[in-house]
Amino acid sequence: MDPPSGNPSAALDTPPRHGPTGALGRLPSRRSRLWAVAAAAAGGLLLAGCNLPTFGETKPITSQGQDSLKLWQGFFITGAVVFVIVFSLIAWASIRYRRRSHAIPRQTQYHTVLEIFYTVIPIIMVLVLFGFTFVSENNVDALPAPKVSVTVTAFQWGWRFHYAKQDVTVIGVELQDPEMVLPQGETVRISLRSHDVVHGFFVPAFDFSRYAQPGITNRFTVNLHTLGTYRGQCTQYCGLFHSLMRFRVRVVTPAQFAAWLRSHRSGGTSSRASLTASAGGAGK
Amino acid sequence: MKVESAFLLGIATFFGVISISYWFTSYEDGGTMMLVGATALGVLPGCYYYFWHRRFRGSKYFFWGKTDRVVGTRPEDRDDARIEDGAGVISAFPGSSVWPFVFGSGAFVFLLAFVFGVWLAAVGISLIVTALVGVTAESRRGGRH
């Protein structure tokens, strides 16, 4: 699939330059293993997005989600390599050095070179990971000029999707999940706010979530590239029926989208539109 | 006292740097306030211990005033101190006291007043006052006898 054009993370897809050398000559085996970590981290990020598995994460349908996924793949590989190395060290130490005699072992307490070594390597790794994070989060949070804008208002326990320019509103409450219809291939801006308590707008297929909060409007952009219907849900605990505060996202072609807008102009699709027009069901 | 003061002044330095960098990157007032509070938490006792440390080292100055000289460091700060160097009164430890329990019960009832009704506050406050009087008297008499 296509990475978004002008992706600045491409510039960072090189292995980290070598940090301190020297004074490490006595530690060949561990040094090579830890360099392997750094190399795998960089390699993972380099390969990400091409043909790596998603490592459990939902396959994204947005280009922003694609960025997140790449980062996740890089972190997952780095994390897995670190996990395997440290795991093996613990396992090796606990099996190899179990008591074999009553002799007192050497009472070693310090090894300064070794300690500096395992302080510096994690710092380098962390800085590299931070670099990738920084680039990726700027991509995910970028706000280009939108073609379509949707205002999402969360309330206890439902959603209101308002297409202001086209004067279309969709409302749904618990057990009557509303559907947000979005066009494929266009830049869509979603403005999020809450009518009452803090809610969380989460669509697994976006690989993204964002709080809907009273008094604050959060904006983010999605560029959808896959047709289909996807589930969404409130993630921030918001009271009694939090579990049922779900919705759907349907991605259609721009032509279908235009048709859908025409057929739904003026007025909501929900039979309980009146419920949410003003109060939005505050209180328990 | 040297390590203690360095420890606390280190906290102060760290939070000082973080407060400044956080303020100038975010201009967010709530978090900055809390970080400044943490800085003060390190500065105040840190300076106190630092001046004690200087006094132990023979400085005549304690904060801004002159005081008597204190000779020598505490035995717990010396690498080569022997147990016998700590001879003397360590501190006064009360054998037992009922007043913490009374005070605790008072606080419990007092806070319940916010939930169940103001009348409980009368009970709570009287328990707390009793405990305060009791513990003061106990300290003056020196123990529970």
Binding site: G56, T58, D67, S68, F75, F76, F83, V86, I90, A93, R99, H102, A103, R106, Q107, Q109, Y110, H111, E115, Y118, V126, L129, S136, V197, V198, I216, R219, F220, T235, Y237, G239, S243, S278, A282 | E4, G10, I18, Y22, T25, E28, G30, A38, A81, I83, D85, G86, A87, A92, F93, S96, S97, V98, W99, P100, G104, S105, F108, L112, F116, G143
Partner: protein, 601 residues
């Protein structure tokens, strides 16, 4: 008269000026100011609450075995996870460590006769007990317990949305326990600064004591913020202020007007400024426990002692600058700052890991229950730490935030520390506290069940989180393949529950058929193992000379001193008595315990 303790110069013997002839029975417990009794009361109370909260967790897990669970109602489910989280976080993990173990162990480890402020210490316990009772009272009032999650996000926690008495009780309970924690923090710091034995310099204190000192500082930074935030929340609920509340702030268009009302994000900022240090208040003491146990059962000193101390300090310092990584998805925080600070915590944590491994390296590992538990802690915390690094990256957090991935992550971290390391400490110090051993075989059964159950419970939750299952849901859609993972997780939870039944049996066995422990059953290193088990009223009748951070070891093994560097002179053929051979140290005269090579004066 007040008890005053004076060591006699002649033999280094401590003498009591005053013999105890105080009240007996219940009155004795109520009036006690002995840090050991208070510490034990703390531990018993917090472990009892741990069992209660564990039971609530089983309720949660049973509800989730079916997509549309009918085991309990939505309302009950919300109360259950709120109370599970609240009890575990506020009433078990913290108080068990810094109220219980630290209270008991720190004065012993620094050679002090008691805490610096014994009556304040007693007050801490009574406030804690009062707070615990108050929180549990929620189960008995109309409307049930608090049901806004342990984080009590405003404005859900304001009176418009959660008007009940249970919520008010929850707030007041936390005010009480908050003060209790602050008092204990002050007490620990004062004890460590002022009541160390001669020669016990700061850099000879055991790591456990160091960690408790740092934890004390963190408590002083974090808890006042929580208490202030709770007071403001209470004002919002009952006195009509609008600090967090948004009620009645809607414009005619039905939108919340930010200028006319309270701020939801303010609560999150305040809460997490407390909440993230709180996570380390819960973790650092348990790191300390593990750092006590690894050297003892590897029969080596702790590797990289100073690095360990500085790592602890760095973790604590960084932990107060990362609060908003819980708020990445609010869209109102400075992402790079908090992301970098959070990622950096991995560095000192990594140092600790390598130091623990370094301690075991080339040792003679003795697999008793405390050691097994500590190794369990290493594995658990490793997994939790690796996923923690992932969560520190905002784009990844955007996806997994408030899903089961986060639930699995923090359970691996907190369960790894508070349960594995916490009960490692329980097994380790139990002989010191009660003078009798716990059965090692039953302990191993406990460990195996716990360890297997732990992974079976939480690995499926990672998968669920990545599949997009949000946390705190009482029901979930069918057809997404979530049910089998949830069932696996529930099976694991029951294995954990079973393992804790084994612990109860073990304690019962140790009371019914006592096995005397002796003073130092593990051939341990630190000062608390020098005195009797259990220790006398003011802890020590005499002390060994303190010439390193492990005075008891120096006393028992004058032929095996610490080698400060790998290439220093060693004693490869050194051997000495071990538990079973000699049955611990005998109390010779106190001034004989001087490590060789160190000038005695």
């Amino acid at each position: 008269m007040t008890d005053v303790i004076i060591p006699q110069v002649a033999g280094g013997e401590y003498a009591h000026v005053h013999e105890e002839h105080g009240p007996t029975g219940l009155m004795k417990w109520i009036t006690t100011t002995d840090h050991k009794v208070i510490g034990m009361s703390y531990m018993i109370t917090s472990v009892a609450l741990f069992y209660i909260a564990g039971l609530l967790a089983l309720g949660i897990r049973v509800q989730l075995t079916t997509p549309h669970g009918t085991f309990i109602s939505f309302q009950q489910y919300n109360e259950l996870f709120t109370m599970h989280g609240s009890i575990m976080m506020y009433l078990f993990a913290g108080p068990f460590a810094f109220g219980g173990l630290a209270n008991y162990i720190v004065p012993l480890q620094v050679g002090a006769p008691d805490m610096a402020f014994p009556r304040l210490n007693a007050l801490s316990y009574w406030l804690y007990l009062g707070g615990s009772i108050m929180m549990l009272m929620g189960f008995g009032v109309a409307g049930g317990t608090a049901d806004f999650g342990w984080v009590a996000y405003a404005p859900l926690s304001t009176s418009t949305y959660t008007p009940g008495l249970g919520e008010d009780l929850w707030i007041m309970a936390l005010v009480l326990t908050g003060f209790s924690a602050i008092f204990t923090g002050v007490n620990l710091i004062a004890t460590i600064f002022y009541l160390r034995a001669p020669g016990m310099t700061m850099f000879r204190m055991p790591i456990f004591t160091w960690n408790m000192l740092v934890t004390g500082i963190l408590i002083l930074i974090a808890f006042p913020v929580l208490t202030a935030a709770l007071v403001m929340l209470f004002c919002d609920r009952h006195f009509g202020t609008k600090i967090y509340a948004v009620t009645g702030c809607h414009t005619t268009a039905g939108i919340v007007d930010a200028h006319a009302c309270g701020s939801a994000v303010l609560w999150q900022n305040l809460f997490w400024f407390f909440g993230h240090p709180e996570v380390y208040i819960l973790a650092l003491p348990f790191f300390g426990i593990a750092t006590e146990i690894f050297p003892v059962f590897s029969r080596k000193p702790v590797f990289g002692y100073k690095g360990m101390v500085f790592a602890t300090m760095s973790i604590a310092a960084l932990s107060t600058g990362v609060w908003a990584h819980h708020m990445f998805t609010t869209g109102t925080v400075l992402l790079p700052f908090f992301s970098l600070m959070s990622l950096l915590i991995a560095v000192p944590t990594g140092i600790k890991f390598f130091n623990w491994i370094g301690t075991m390296w080339r040792g003679q590992l003795v697999y008793t229950t405390p050691m097994l538990m500590s190794i369990g802690f290493l594995f658990a915390f490793l997994m939790g730490g690796v996923t923690g690094v992932m969560l520190a990256s905002p784009p990844i957090d955007f996806f997994v935030h408030t899903t089961y991935f986060v639930v699995a992550h923090f359970h691996q971290v907190l369960f790894g520390t508070a349960v594995f390391a916490g009960f490692a400490g329980f097994y380790y110090w139990y002989p010191k506290m009660f003078g009798r051993m716990l059965n090692d075989r039953l302990g191993k059964v406990h460990f195996v069940l716990l360890f297997v159950g732990f992974w079976v419970t939480f690995i499926p939750q990672y998968v669920l989180g990545l599949h997009g299952m949000p946390r705190r849901v009482a029901s979930y859609p069918t057809g997404l393949g979530w049910q089998s993972w949830n069932i696996a997780s529930t099976i694991g939870a029951f294995m954990i529950a079973t393992s804790f039944m084994v612990l109860l049996v073990n304690v019962w066995v140790s009371w019914r058929y006592p096995v005397p422990a002796g003073d130092n059953p593990w051939d341990a290193h630190t000062l608390e193992w020098f005195t009797t088990s259990p220790p006398p009223h003011h802890n020590y009748t005499h002390l060994p000379q303190i010439r390193s951070e492990r005075p008891t070891w120096d006393y028992n093994h004058p032929d095996a001193p610490t080698i400060l560097h790998r290439h220093g002179p060693g004693h490869p053929n050194g051997h000495g008595p071990y538990a079973g051979d000699g049955g611990g140290p005998t109390h010779g005269n106190g001034s004989a315990g001087v490590a060789p090579g160190v000038p005695a004066t």
